[in-house]
Amino acid sequence: MSLRNRLLAVAAAGLVLALPLAANAHRGWIVPSFTVLSGDGAWVTLDAAISNELFYADHNPMRLDAVTVTAPDGSVDKIQNPATGKYRSTFDVQLSKPGTYKIGSAVSTVMASWTQDGQVKRFRGSPEDFAKQVPAGAADLKTIKSFNRNETFVTRDAPTTTVFAPTGKGLELVPVTHPNDLVAGEAATFKFLLDGKPAADLEVTFAPGNSRYRATPGDFKVKTGADGAFKVTFPEAGMYWMNAVVRTGETGRGPGGPGGPGGGMGGPGGGAPGGGAAPATPQAGDGMSASYTATLEALRP
């Protein structure tokens, strides 16, 4: 069995559906009730799900374990009043400070397979668990490391940019136009970073919401330039789902490993995987993927 098939078999074992690696049709989203708010009594309520139609909860709820709130001053809060139902999760965020909040998840996952006592073993989990559970020096070890972000932005009063400070992990959005300053018909500019460097030639998909009421989905794609920047004009006011994915190494055309031993793969609040021991070191031919998803609102002029 090829590496890819073996790893797909892991995915097919039904461990997690939230990752876009093998689930292109299902789109994860976090949708706020408002993106632009005024006054110090401001709250937003958010829905989070993995669905076919945007933004209708028709498939699975998004698990909220990894969803956090980054306040304009950089502090990280827990979400409030979380509840997970059959089709969607819901939670609240209080905007107690003026400025822009980031609400979402940044999740690092390792999929691995290796041979032990003549049998193929598999692992899927956090880099920390990978370092603990996969034996050092495992034979025939293959890994796919992934880093997935899914977020949205909400601003009380004037927009701020502190929550966009890059961490150098996975795909990250750098605003030129502030994501809470989008108006239908006006061009907006954004930039993407991959592990802190400009993500050149990256295909970015935009899918407008309210797809239930349109005969055609209305998706469109934009490509980043050499500096990772691209321009987009939202054709009409509404909520948009934005997504970009980078995948390398699955077939042996690796980028030289996803940032060194365990590099760039710490989970939200998690430390680096223990030690520089063999299990944490990706081999040539190992894969990596990074995805970025955001829900953006373009307002009526």
């Binding site: 632009v36 005024s38 006054g39 110090d40 009594g41 009063d157 927009p159 300053d181 307002l299 009526r300």
Partner: protein, 176 residues
Amino acid sequence: MKRSPKLSLSLLTFAGAAVGAAPALAGDLAITVEVPRLTVAEYHKPYVSIWIENPADATAAGTLAVWYDFGSKEDKGVKWLKDMRQWWRKAGRTMTFPADGVSGATRAPGPQKLVFSGAKGPLKDLKPGQYNLVVEAAREVGGQEAVRVPFAWGKPGKLATAKGTAELGAVTVAVK
């Protein structure tokens, strides 16, 4: 403030065009805003912002008035200021509320007469030239509308007028 005859002459010569660093005349801006009487099941007086826009780049040159639920407990009315979305984006979101000389209570249907002194607020530093007066209304359980009236600041002028279609009636502007 005393004005030299030379300066007054230059203002007349360049009437209608923005003139360098010349200070504005201390004229007044007289505005009427008609809040239409609407027969709807659930009526709330509209939130209204009155502001000055630079026509060249559509930026705000100053906010003259904001009518909202000013006296509500814990100032909860500010929650809906964002619904006057053009004003909010261009001017409101960087202000603090209530704002001295700007904030006021919502007004009942009918014509509302207002006079803004050229010696105070944003008009004090407004350079002579062409501007839009923008009146933007947003009503709870209703719609949102912005009416633009072009006017020339710098010398007394004729009455300029524009009319809304839903949330606002006639808006008139006169520089006195």
